[in-house]
Amino acid sequence: MNPTLARWLQAPSIILLFIWMIVPLSLTIYFSTIRYNLLYPERTGFVGWDNYSFFATDPAFGPALVNTLILVGSVLIITVVLGLTVSILIDRPFRGRGIARVMLISPFFIMPTVSALVWKNMLMDPNNGLFAAFANAIGVTPIEWLQDMPLFSVIIMVSWQWTPFAILIFMTSLQSQDQEQKEAAMLDGAGFWSQFRNLTLPHLARPISIVILIQMIFHLAIFAEIFVTTSGGPGVQSTNLTYLIYIQSQQAFDVGVASAGGVFAIILANIVAIFLIRAVGKTLTV
């Protein structure tokens, strides 16, 4: 293939992605510096940092930022610890392993809106839900999950969806672990913990960091679960940054402020992205 043709073949994907990135990005930055509210089209003009300070001084901003961090942090800990445990548990031959695998990873393929509804109604509903039935059966008052611990409820739902992701990755990665090495260690009398610490964990170091980084990208942007279950409430107890920006744009129609919020979200995501790109770059052999 001659170089000119190669360039022509590569051009479409590069140009299209560049447009897809640069046009919305520059518009977001531009909108964030002007007065732009769909309800008051007559108000225009450059406002500098006003939208940013307006967004940052919104009483919901602090809680939303904290909620975002709690949400991401808790889900990461839960999914990585549970994912590691389960994938080590089933990392041995047994009958029905294929079925157990399929059962374990299935939640990851469920639509986020479906998973949110199933948890909200059939499991967590304080009157007719399954958890309430259990609580009643053992004689305790059912918990009003979405009312009393909204953020925790969202954490449970998201963890249910993403632990399977961690299991899937760890399981795959464990299969490529050197079995002879493991057997040799066992013959030498290495116990479970020393095997885990010295062989398994180093082997899983990269998959773990990739799982963490990829989940961070997705969890910073959690939307559907909150939209369907708590709508960010009660109050702002389960509002994250994504949801707050959504509210600003769809309910206050304030393009300027929503864009300033968008810039916050972009910066936050990019801090994570830098590390992820580096981790992936190391593995890409060209």
């Binding site: 293939m1 043709l5 190669a6 590569q10 994907s13 992605l17 897809w20 990135m21 919305p24 990005l25 909108f31 089933i90 041995r92 079925i99 157990a100 399929v102 059962m103 374990l104 990873i105 939640p107 393929f109 469920i110 809106t113 479906v114 998973s115 509804l117 199933v118 109604n121 059939m122 009157n127 007719n128 399954l130 039935a133 059966a137 399977p164 899937l168 990755i169 795959t172 990269r206 990739i210 990208i217 910073l220 942007a221 939307f223 559907a224 940054l241 920006i245 393009v255 929503a258 919020g261 979200a265 972009i266 990019n270 994570v272 992205a273 790109i277 992936v280 593995t283 890409l284 060209v286």
Partner: protein, 276 residues
């Protein structure tokens, strides 16, 4: 107890706990499917019913009384359309990058990946307003384009990895025979990379099908996909659990099966090729 016996015992206990985890994780899905075969009264019965006479009325009713088929069709069109468009753009590019790897190839791929890190909510306003200006709010075409661009970086990266595994000698042989580039792609590369392309497509379809931000924000009635349709059941008190379950079961079944089939490629695709 000998070492072997001990090892045996450990294995059994581990497997037992593995099954418990599997059952717990699968339970909500099982319960959803079960509920879809109950009547509305059975669905909210206290205590919850495990055994009952199953009915198909929810499934017939959602076909007759809601626009389920329309939304399902929208999901199919946007997921397959977005995937098709992404493949159309990516196949020639990834092919050219894999066989004409240059100094910048790796940087270009990494840059492409970095566009994936742009949070959707960060560009919500521009995309919304542009769609509005172009009269593409609530249009399937807008979703097809967005899904294609959203998945293009992942599709590029996986295809690049697949194409690179094709032995160069085969291509050189065909070149000696004077095959044109177009025929080279069609007759030599495509058959060899077919499996890779198919599984890449599967991954992209799964991601499009379950996408729930743009479909909720950009559509109202005409172009709504199943994710948005299901979200509309969030009504207070969540009535009609049985019907919601039937809709959900239908909406998730094909994708869960796709997911089972594409496990290996999913790992590669979701980790951007870093775990194989």
């Amino acid at each position: 107890m000998t070492d072997k016996q001990r090892q045996n015992l450990i294995n059994r206990v581990a497997v037992a706990f593995g099954w418990i985890a599997a059952i717990l994780f699968f339970f909500p899905i099982f319960w959803m499917v079960l509920t879809s075969f109950k009547t509305e009264n059975q669905a909210i019965a206290i205590p919850p019913l495990l055994f009952f006479e199953p009915t198909l009325e929810n499934y017939t009713e959602i076909q007759e009384r809601t626009n389920y088929s329309k939304f399902a069709l929208n999901s199919i069109i946007t997921a397959f359309g977005g995937t098709g468009l992404a493949l159309l753009i990516a196949i020639p590019s990834a092919y050219s990058m894999a066989f004409n790897t240059g100094r910048w190839t790796k940087d270009i791929l990494m840059w492409m990946l970095s566009t994936k890190m742009l949070p959707a909510v960060g560009v919500l306003m521009p995309i919304y307003l542009i769609s509005q200006k172009l009269g593409m709010l609530d249009s399937k075409l807008a979703l097809v384009i967005i899904y294609a661009m959203m998945n293009l970086p992942i599709v590029m990266l996986i295809l690049f990895n697949y194409f690179r595994e094709i032995p160069k000698e085969i291509l050189e042989a065909s070149r000696m025979d004077g095959t044109s580039t177009f025929n080279e792609i069609r007759q030599v590369v495509m058959p060899l990379a077919w499996g890779g392309i198919a599984s890449t497509a599967l991954l992209s379809i799964i991601l499009c099908w379950n996408e729930a931000f743009w479909s909720i924000v950009l559509t109202t009635t005409e172009a709504s996909t199943l994710t948005a349709f299901v979200a509309s059941f969030q009504a207070p008190e969540g009535l009609f659990w049985a019907k919601v379950s039937a809709v959900s079961t239908l909406a998730c079944a094909p994708i869960v099966i796709f997911g089972w089939l594409a496990q290996k490629q999913l790992v590669q695709g979701l980790t951007f090729g870093a775990v194989k």
